[in-house]
Amino acid sequence: MSQDFVRQMPDRSSDLARRTGFWQRVHIDPLLLMLLLTLTAFGLLVLYGAAGQSSGTMIRQGRFLIIGYIGMLVVAQLDVERIKRLAPLAYLVGIALLIAVPLVGVGAKGAQRWLSLGGFRFQPSELMKLVVPMAVAWYFAGRALPPRLKHIVASLIMIAVPTLLIARQPDLGTSILIAASGLFALFLAGIGWRFIFGAAGLLLVSAYPMWQFVLRDYQKTRILTLLNPESDKLGAGWNIIQSKTAIGSGGWDGKGWLNGTQSQLNFLPESHTDFIIAVLAEEWGLRGVIALMLIYLAIIIRGLWIGMNAQHSFGRLLAGSITLTFFVYVFVNMGMVSGLLPVVGVPLPLVSQGGTSLVTLLAGFGLLMAISTEKRMMEQ
């Protein structure tokens, strides 16, 4: 059916054909690009208000956006087959870098997450957000699906190694995202429901020992704070109380752009990074939140659609897991800021300030575009 659609294309009109030809040649998904541009433009406006109307922050974010979009377009030009072949190597290099972090890395705020390369600091864990689903997708692409038990175990180990290395840094938010990205690939590959429910049961059983031995004190505090933010009004609960106040006081209409008292008067901590959604909710109201959610939803549907239409299982698995991971970002961030989930440093994708996350996310969408244009390229 899809072949029919493509074959009809040149017959429609020469103008459209030329344009389609252009999009195909440069490997861009125009719908996805439009949605991303809308989202990042909106995000930039919100950020301007959130960062105390500092044009410096805007310019820095704008510079990262340009780098991110260029990166996305470069990644989109890559041959999917080549990406697949490079995946295992990238995975091994990534693991090596993660091991290097505690040995030679630099710390900030009590955690070691950064590697410094010739004055340029970067976070290997950020890279792993793309590398892990790539590696898992590569692993299943060469095997019959649905996967057999030994392959499931093998892929779980592939996921667990980087996840645990990052959780040790410690960076709970990123390790959750990376575990999720790998698990989504596993899920989309068709892992049996028995395994899924079994794992869920196991997780439930292991909750107590996890609490006792794995979670750090500050992480426990965050979870306890979620249950009762009033217990520590000026400490861990402060963020949640202030962000809920910001969101709630926004109402339907919002207080107007740059008029949010909670955010403009600095009551809201981390207002331009992880808690930026509270600024949006305060200044743009529920209307703004809904608009943002709709854009996210459209991006996710587009991503899932690209996955479903991919030619090979590698592209399918990769596109699906990148898209679903993107959704986890959105859900965890909006959930934690509104007091639905514990606070685990996850930014609001493409809106929060932060260069690395922006570049990684856009590179991920570059992969989606490469996958979405691959089919047509083959047809040509």
Binding site: A144, L145, G248, G251, L265, A281, M293, M308, L324
Partner: protein, 633 residues
């Protein structure tokens, strides 16, 4: 590998993938709906609650500290004021590397390690977003240096506030006291609401005594703040009520003269206007710069003051308890006349010593220690006062008895606080048989009466008490609890009048005439100050013996270390006919009253002549009389 490839089924894979994707999409919808519900609940259902909370959040009621009342002398000279003071503060939260910032500041301006230690202690106890002072009282140069380097010192700020300042430096330190940081004990006593914006409180002196009046009433303002408490906008304001200004009886010029006359000696001068009880001067040397205490004194400065053997923090005028020595002889003479123990004509044999009946112990006259003789074969009351004869007063004391001496002296203010409006006043000691029984658990001996009879022994008085007793002497029995405060706003303050001391007028006359002769008589112990006097002074010298002298020892001034020498005292009032000022002076180790009396002359001149008090309220006759009297000298 090849085997597995053979088993791959693209159609099944795609079908499974599609099903899983649809399932995932449904979960995505479900979770987004959950988020939607959450935001709907916060923004629509609970909107009112959060809007109220948000309004409350940004608006804060802040106390506005009142301006502390100023203090003036009688002529409007400013003694205590409020000046803008600039301090260097750091907000820790805004500083990237605290050590580096402090290091940089140390390169720029002079900051003691002491200050840094104190700052670190403060910082560890305060919130990261509060601004903590590192250095107070910045100089204009320091402010300029910091302003220029502001760009590389994020989080560093210069804050302005009003700080107490004492423009006269150490001249009034003992009178005014000073303000300092409110400590924990004071925190419990003050009205927390009224002091909510105030950091400092009167610690001693008038600053403490009149704290309630000087402080004023706190004001309030509704301000919009950010989370760090930085004020962005004032929404509403109730102005504070400033503290009332005090006008004192003190005369800055006389105070300065008294202070300088004391020079490098350790001593005190108290001058009171006998007509009002108003204190004209109260000097205690050595003194200190009260400004050091404002905003917290450094450990170095404080230990220097505390550990000095000259005790500059000790207010000798109110806290120094000294044997009044011969300065109380006029009082005893008055008592003798009053009780009929003596008459102005009765005489006592004076060989230079005195012996109690049935006792071989010799009580020496002070002349004995120099010349081994008395003041003459027989001496009367006037001569005994003029030449300060001890033998006469040994005899008088013996005949009067300690309890009558106590009862007569008490109304003059000995043995109890004068009630002056200042802090830390001591009561001195006026002994009696009861006192000794209760406090010493011992009976009274006649020999002790003799010591008290020449102002020694157990008898102790503060310079303020001596001056207050001179007020009664000068006024012929009318006297007051001395007062510093002259005027509060427009209200004149009158010193509380004490019960009149009822003594026959002729007795007053006899004693004050003798005192006049102390200064103006040929043999008067203070006659060195009468040269060129335009008015007449009545006074009495004293030497307080502070080491015991054995029966056969000879007192040798040269050999006794300066610190063991007698204290020199002098009490006086002037002009004799219409007293306008009394003084009491003590110079520790000042040897003798005659050596101290020139200080009184300077103080009298400063008040009566320099300040024109002699002419004021004085009829021409009195001036003429004074002039005539001084001419005949």
């Amino acid at each position: 590998m090849a085997e597995q490839v053979a088993l791959k089924d693209p159609y099944t894979e795609k079908r499974i993938y599609g099903a899983r994707t649809i399932f995932a999409a449904l979960v995505v919808f479900a979770l987004l709906s959950l988020l939607m519900a959450r935001y709907f609940s916060l923004q629509i259902t609970q909107h009112e609650t959060y809007r109220t909370q948000s309004d409350r959040n940004r608006v804060q009621l802040q106390p506005v500290p009142p301006k502390r009342g100023l203090i003036y002398d009688r002529n409007g000279v400013l003694l205590a004021e409020n000046r803008a003071s600039y301090s260097l503060t750091i907000i820790k939260e805004q500083v990237e590397d605290l050590d580096q910032t402090i290091g940089l500041l140390q390169d720029l301006i002079n900051i003691d390690d002491d200050h840094i230690k104190k700052y670190r202690r403060l910082v560890s106890r305060s919130r990261p977003y509060s601004s903590v002072p590192l250095k107070l009282k910045l100089s204009p140069e320091e402010i300029a240096i910091i302003s220029v380097n502001r760009y590389r010192l994020p989080g560093v700020d210069v804050d302005a506030q009003l700080a107490r300042h004492y423009p006269q430096g150490e001249l009034f330190a003992h009178v005014l006291g000073y303000v300092g940081r409110i400590n924990e004990a004071e925190q419990l006593q003050i009205d927390e609401v009224n002091y909510s914006g105030t950091n400092e409180i009167g610690k001693i002196g008038l600053e403490k005594y009149y704290e309630d009046i000087l402080h004023g009433k706190v004001g309030y303002q509704n301000v919009e703040t950010n989370a760090r408490g930085r004020v962005l906008r004032v929404l509403e304001r109730t102005n504070p009520e400033p503290g009332a200004d005090l006008t004192l009886h003190l005369d800055a010029h006389v105070q300065k003269v008294a202070h300088e006359a004391l020079g490098d000696e350790r001593g005190a001068v108290v001058a009171i206007d006998p007509r009002t009880g108003g204190i004209i001067a109260m000097a205690s040397t050595p003194s200190f710069d009260a400004n050091l205490f404002v905003g917290g004194i450094s450990t170095k400065d404080y230990s220097r003051l505390r550990d000095s053997i000259d005790l500059p923090l000790f207010n000798r005028a109110l806290q120094g308890q000294y044997p009044p020595a011969s300065t109380v002889k006029p009082h005893y003479g008055l008592a003798g006349l009053h009780y009929g123990v003596i008459t102005p004509q009765s005489k006592v044999r004076d060989p230079g010593w005195y012996k109690l009946p049935n006792d071989d112990r010799m009580y020496r006259d002070w002349t004995w220690q120099k010349k081994k003789r008395g003041h003459g074969t027989f001496v009367d009351l006037e001569q005994s006062i003029v030449e300060s004869c001890d033998t006469y007063f040994y005899d008088l004391a013996y005949n009067m008895g300690i309890d009558r001496m106590h009862d007569f002296m008490a109304p003059f203010g000995f043995g109890s606080k004068t009630g002056v409006d200042n802090t830390n006043e001591r009561s001195g000691l006026l002994p009696s048989k009861d006192w000794k029984r209760i406090y010493k658990r011992s009976t009274w001996y006649h020999g002790e009466t003799l010591s008290v009879g020449i102002g020694q022994g157990y008898l102790l008085a503060t310079p303020m008490q001596l001056a207050a007793s001179m007020v009664a002497m000068a006024n012929r029995g009318k006297h007051f609890a001395p007062r510093f405060l002259k005027r509060l706003g427009d209200e004149e303050i009158t010193a509380p009048e004490l019960p009149m001391i009822e003594v026959e007028a002729e007795h007053w006359e006899a004693v004050t005439h003798a005192m006049e002769e102390v200064v103006h008589g040929r043999k008067g112990t203070a006659n060195r100050i009468n040269r060129g006097l335009k008015y007449r002074i009545a006074g009495k010298t004293g030497s307080a013996q502070i080491i015991g002298i054995g029966q056969d020892e000879v007192y040798d001034e040269e050999q006794v270390a300066k610190r063991k020498k007698d204290h020199g005292l002098f009490v006086a009032f002037a002009p004799v006919k219409d007293p306008k000022i009394v003084v009491a002076i003590i110079v520790e180790n000042g040897v003798h009253g005659s050596w101290v009396s020139p200080i009184a002359r300077k103080v009298f001149d400063a008040y009566l002549l320099d300040q024109g008090m002699l002419e004021e309220n004085t009829d021409a006759g009195l001036i003429a009389q004074a002039a005539a009297e001084s001419a005949t000298e």
